[in-house]
C-alpha cells in the first residue's frame, strides 16, 4: 500500500493483529454491520432504520438442497410468519451472483415468494455479494439475529440437523427461534454461535 504513514511503524502489526481478531471473532456481541439494499419489492432498505426491533437475516439460495428442505417443508415460511407477527423484521438475502444457483431478479424472487407463500419482511437482492461478505455469510441458509440495540445475538445454522433431508425438520431444535425466545424474555442467548450448514454462498468471486 502506497500511503503516507499516519502511525508509527510499530503500530501496524498491532493494527493487523486487531483486524485479524475482528475477522476471527464471531459477529456475536458486535454491532451488526449496517447496509443499504434494494428489496425485490423495489424499496430501499437500510438496516439501521430498524433499530428498536429484532431483525433476522436469512441467507437464501432457492436451488440449494438445504434451503429447499426448509421451504418445501414449509418450515421457513412458518418461522417467517410466526416471528414477523410478533414484530420481528425478517430479511431474506440473496447473495448468489448472476448465472449461479440462487440468483434471482426482483420479479423472479417475487414469483418465487408468491409460489412458496414466503413471508419475510422483504427479500434483499445482493448479487454483488457485498452484504454477504459484510456478514461473512458462508452458507445457505446462514442465519443471524440482531437485537433492538443493533447487536448481533445469533450467528450460525438454522437448526441442529445439518442435512438436506425433509424428515429432519420436525425433530430439529431451531436456533433462531431459541435465540429470539430467550432474548425477548430478557435472557442471555445460550447458543449464540453455531456452525452454519448448507451450500456455500455462490458469490461472484467464488472460483477454485
Amino acid at each position: 500500500m502506497k500511503r503516507s504513514t499516519p502511525y508509527p511503524t510499530l503500530v501496524y502489526p498491532a493494527l493487523i493483529a486487531l483486524a485479524l481478531c475482528a475477522v476471527s471473532a464471531a459477529l456475536v456481541g458486535a454491532a451488526a454491520p449496517d447496509f443499504t439494499a434494494t428489496a425485490s419489492n423495489g424499496k430501499t432498505v437500510r438496516l439501521s432504520d430498524y433499530r428498536g426491533k429484532f431483525v433476522v437475516l436469512e441467507w437464501h439460495n432457492n436451488g440449494c438442497p438445504f434451503v429447499r428442505k426448509q421451504y418445501n417443508s414449509g418450515n421457513m415460511q412458518k418461522l417467517q410468519k410466526q416471528w414477523t407477527s410478533q414484530g420481528v423484521v425478517w430479511f431474506t438475502i440473496l447473495s448468489s451472483a448472476p448465472g449461479k444457483q440462487g440468483y434471482a431478479t426482483a420479479s423472479e424472487e417475487n414469483d418465487y415468494m408468491a409460489k412458496m407463500q414466503a413471508a419475510p419482511t422483504a427479500a434483499l437482492l445482493d448479487p454483488t455479494g457485498a452484504i454477504g461478505h459484510l456478514y461473512d455469510a458462508k452458507t445457505s441458509p446462514h442465519m443471524f439475529v440482531i437485537n433492538p440495540q443493533g447487536v448481533v445475538i445469533y450467528d450460525g445454522a438454522i437448526d441442529d440437523k445439518p442435512t438436506p433431508d425433509l424428515n429432519d425438520v420436525p425433530g430439529a431444535t431451531n436456533y433462531v427461534s431459541l435465540a429470539l425466545q430467550q432474548a425477548m424474555a430478557g435472557k442471555q442467548v445460550e447458543t449464540a454461535a453455531t456452525r452454519p450448514y448448507g451450500c456455500s454462498v455462490k458469490y461472484a468471486d467464488a472460483t477454485h
Binding site: P164, T194, C199, S200, K202
Partner: protein
Amino acid sequence: MRWSDGCAELYRVLIGGAALLLCAASAHAEATPIPHGTLELIAQNQSIVAGQTIDLGLHFQLEKGWHIYWTNPGDSGEPPRVEWQLPAGLTAGSIEWPTPQRLGTSTIVDYGYENAVLLIVPMNAEASLTEQQPVRLGAKIRLLVCSHEMCLPGKADISLTLPAKSQPSALDARTADLFAAARKSLPRSPPQNWRFSLADAKDSFMLSANLGRRITQAIFFPLAESQIENAAPQNLQPSATGFQMTLRKSAQLVKPIERLKGVLVLSGGQGYLIDLPLSKPRAPKGKAATISGSTHYNSY
C-alpha cells in the same frame, strides 16, 4: 422464473446422468448415475471370504468442476452418507477417507474431492458364513455434489454380488490399481521420531513440528468441525527442524478444546494423521506463546 430453472436443471442432470450411464455401461455395467458423475461399488477381491475382512470401495467419478466432500466438509456441504444393506454375517467398517483437497475461496473453504475418488470401506465376513450362494452387498448413498456455481443432492442405490468362499480369495485385477492408488492417498501415522505440539495463542493455535528438516509447505485439515477457521490463511514459519503454523480458532469455538485432530499434508501430497493435546499454559510459557503468536502476525 427460478423454479422452472430448477426443473430445467433437474432434467439436465437426469439426461446427463442417463448419457453417462450409457457411456459407462460398456466399461462397468454397475456404475450408477449421480449428479454430474457416476458411482460404483467395487471390491478389491474376487470373493467374500468367511472369517476375513476384504476391502470394498465407493468409486466416485465426477465431471470437471464438481466435487464431493470429506468427512469434515469444512465451511459448507456434507460428506456422502452410506446406509448398508447386508446379509446376516457381514459387517461394514467405517469409510477410510483419503487426504482431501482444500476447495473454495478466500472466505469459504471446503474440504473434498474433485474428479475421482475411491472411498475404501472394510467389509468383515463372519467365520460362519457359508459358501453355497453369492452374497449381495448393497448400499443406499445420499450425497451432495457441488460446483462453485451450484449444489445438487444425489441419491444412489448401489450393489455388488460376490461369491462367498472359505479359501483366501484372489485380488480382482480390474480394481487393483484403483485400490492401490486409494491406499496411497490415505493419511498415515507420522514417523515415530517426528514431534508435534499445540499451544494456545489467544485467537489461534500454534502447531509446532519437529521433523528433523526444514519444512516450507504444509496444510492442515481439521477432522472436527468448528475448531479452526477453515478460510483463514495457515501461516507457516519454517524452522531448521520443521515449522510453526498458525491456525486461527473458529468463530464458533465457544469451549476450549482439549485436542486437535487432523491431517497434515506436506509438499508432495502425503498426509499424516495427527492427534495433539493442547498444551496446558504455564505462567511464563503461556505468555511466551502469546508473544510468538504476535510475532506471526507481524509477518503478515
